[in-house]
């Protein structure tokens, strides 16, 4: 699973180093039903108390349990999600009220709609967005799970595009280069040993 494997290496090597900004976009698949919808809503409820990413990670940690719930049973989904979030927030009652009133359903619905408008209807899916020095915008979509080594190559390619430097040949294996550490190549140095 991307969130529990590739994502950790991407965060360490690209996000924490300032090379990449990460945006999470809710796309609750229909086949996953209410557990997916309620989880997305609950993540934003936790976000009201500055615990979005903690909840995000906790929910991914419980993906198996969530996947075993009845997709059509909303009450069961709420019952399953509340105990995940309550330890992460200061005001458990406010969190519970937020989840139970479906406060963020219109937000999740809007995100879902926008993803569908872009014909993104499977998970996981990714977009790499860059703006080159000349102002040219580029979006590279990737559908499906990608192991870290390949993901890092894609990110390095997009970083080169954003920097206006030659885009690496995707068939080339990145080699350690001390000089690259300051210009975005550091992550490529780690790409070989961080596969999730």
């Amino acid at each position: 699973m991307y969130a529990t494997e590739t994502a950790r290496e991407v965060e360490k090597n690209y996000i924490d180093t300032g090379l990449v900004k990460f945006v999470y976009w809710d796309l609750p698949l229909g086949s996953h039903g209410y557990p997916a919808v309620v989880s997305a809503e609950a993540s934003h409820c936790a976000g009201e108390q500055d615990a979005y990413w903690e909840m995000h990670d906790a929910l991914f940690g419980e993906w198996k349990m969530l996947s075993e719930l009845d997709p059509e049973d909303e009450a069961a989904a709420v019952e399953a999600v509340l105990p995940i979030g309550e330890p992460l927030v200061e005001d458990g009652q406010a969190f519970q009220a937020c989840v139970e009133t479906q406060k963020y359903r219109p937000v999740v619905a809007t995100m879902l709609r926008q993803a569908m408008d872009m014909e993104i209807n499977a998970t996981p899916a990714f977009l790499f967005g860059t703006v080159s020095p000349s102002g040219e915008q580029h979006v590279e979509p990737v559908m499906g799970y990608v192991e870290y080594e390949e993901f890092a190559k894609m990110l390095d390619r997009e970083i080169s595009r954003a920097q206006g430097t030659p885009i690496p040949d995707p068939t080339e294996v990145p080699t350690p280069d001390a000089d690259a550490a300051d210009d975005g190549g550091a992550a490529a140095d780690d790409s070989g040993d961080g596969e999730g």
Binding site: V23, W25, P106, A125, G129, V131, Q137, P141
Partner: protein, 118 residues
Amino acid sequence: MRRVLTTGMLAILLLAPVACGGADPEAAPDAADLTQEAAPDAAEADASLVEAGDADPAAATADPALADGTAGAEGADPATAEAPTLTPAEVELITNFRPPSKGSEDALVTLYEFSDYI
């Protein structure tokens, strides 16, 4: 599977908040358009939601038939859609919402992950 999307799609994601659902993803706006996209007003948000409801009844009503809309555009049935009734508070919530993000605002690449928790 990889393919290049239009700059309009990039604009929606990079520069506009969630509330700009009314933006045409097929459009290729110039820089001025992008700036405008970044600051939709409440009316825009409202309109976009109605549109979302029409195309994806489950997304707007949270019906378990979410599958109709989410699993693929082929399942959406506007004829059976219930028009969402949004309160002013909901419109404001959507208008002001920004997708969760982390990392530097000056980062060279913006990476979007589309997923659910299952």
